[in-house]
Amino acid sequence: SFFFFLSLTFFSGNIFLLRNAVLEVEAIKVGCSVPAARKTGTTICGVVFKDGVVLGADTRATEGMIVADKNCSKIHYISPNIYCCGAGTAADTEMTTQLISSNLELHSLSTGRLPRVATANRMLKQMLFRYQGYIGAALVLGGVDCNGPHLYSIYPHGSTDKLPYVTMGSGSLAAMAVFEDRYKPDMEEDAAKQVVRDAIAAGIFNDLGSGSNIDLCVITKNKVNYIRPHDEANKKGVRTGDYKYKQGTTGVLTKAVTPIDLELLEESVQTMDTS
């Protein structure tokens, strides 16, 4: 069975099966460009503190140079004690974390134990390696299990690093600068939340791909505190004026009212899905 695993591990098949080659060819013939995948730009980070881990993320999702979503959620649920921040291609991070979350729940029912962060790390890295980097998911995985708090950074090609503090995404350099200055081992929860908040803020204000609010997730042995938003760093301002002119600004010379009789034939209500 391990030979089967070995052959599955290396994607030596046809890589072009992973792209919609037909769509791309037809689109170029007509003169359209293939839609760019929605990326999350992103600043994400995590820190291990005395009692657990703190994960942080911004909330901007971009399609090229346009903000597609001003308040998207980048901290994904993996298991009751494990959460994962995702940078890169939004669809890839969403689906990958959901898949591993599902498999981990089944695994947890099979073992009868709370899942371990190392298990989630292994499952994620083996899947991403199998796809040889074509799944553009760069993740910050953190949680608390029977062996204590753990934090991993996972790259699209399948390499992982186990560290006390990590940053990922286009704003990772800005966030890492804050961490390298102010990280200390065994911080208290409030200090850890503050440094993560500041690291994400550094990404939001210094990286064009990151913006909007700061989400935090504090994971400790018995509790998870998912704070969304923790800091509304970019609240939309209130307009100081209004371009609408009041009735009477333009003088009325004559007025003729013609009522149009309409017969009500059918009335139906269709609710818009705003979930």
Binding site: F2, F5, T9, F10, F11, L128, Y155, S159, D161, L163
Partner: protein
Amino acid sequence: MAVEYDGGVVIGADSRTTTGAYIANRVTDKLTRIHDKIYCCRSGSAADTQAIAEIVAYQLGFHSIELDEPPLVETAANLFRASCYRYREELTAGILVAGWDKRKGGQVYSVPIGGMLVRQPVSVGGSGSTYIYGFMDANYKPGMNKEQCMEITAAALSLAMERDGSSGGVVRLASISEEGVERRVILGNQLPKFSTH
């Protein structure tokens, strides 16, 4: 790099992983445990080498349970070679397999890019290795003891880290012998210094 001595091996590595010009991890542990007394030094693509090392560790652990004996270093090296040669077109992995077993004592096996396998008393690898071939040719002498091997490894790595942009951080050392595995870390400011100007 890895060096054999009478009774064991000394392995060493730098601690830098880069994505382009950014250092993704400045405290990487490139000395990966494959079995109790068999380690490997990883160079090349982090994703490829981590994946291969984890697969080989699984295969070797299974084999060792079947055998009911500690596995041979040559077996581990051959498992690496099998993966690195079969998938040579897809992989970028340069690996040194080093350890101690009862049959042949301390051994170092090189599995460079392409998937060749050769046993050597001393081996260096990675992007910084080009800068220290001359140093090793001049300073290595057969019959060195453990401490001398540790010193020459630390010195060689220090020189390579000074010259190669892709190498740096701290020096991680380990010695593997019948007694067990002893790990050391030499921080940046404690590295041996060589005057260049």
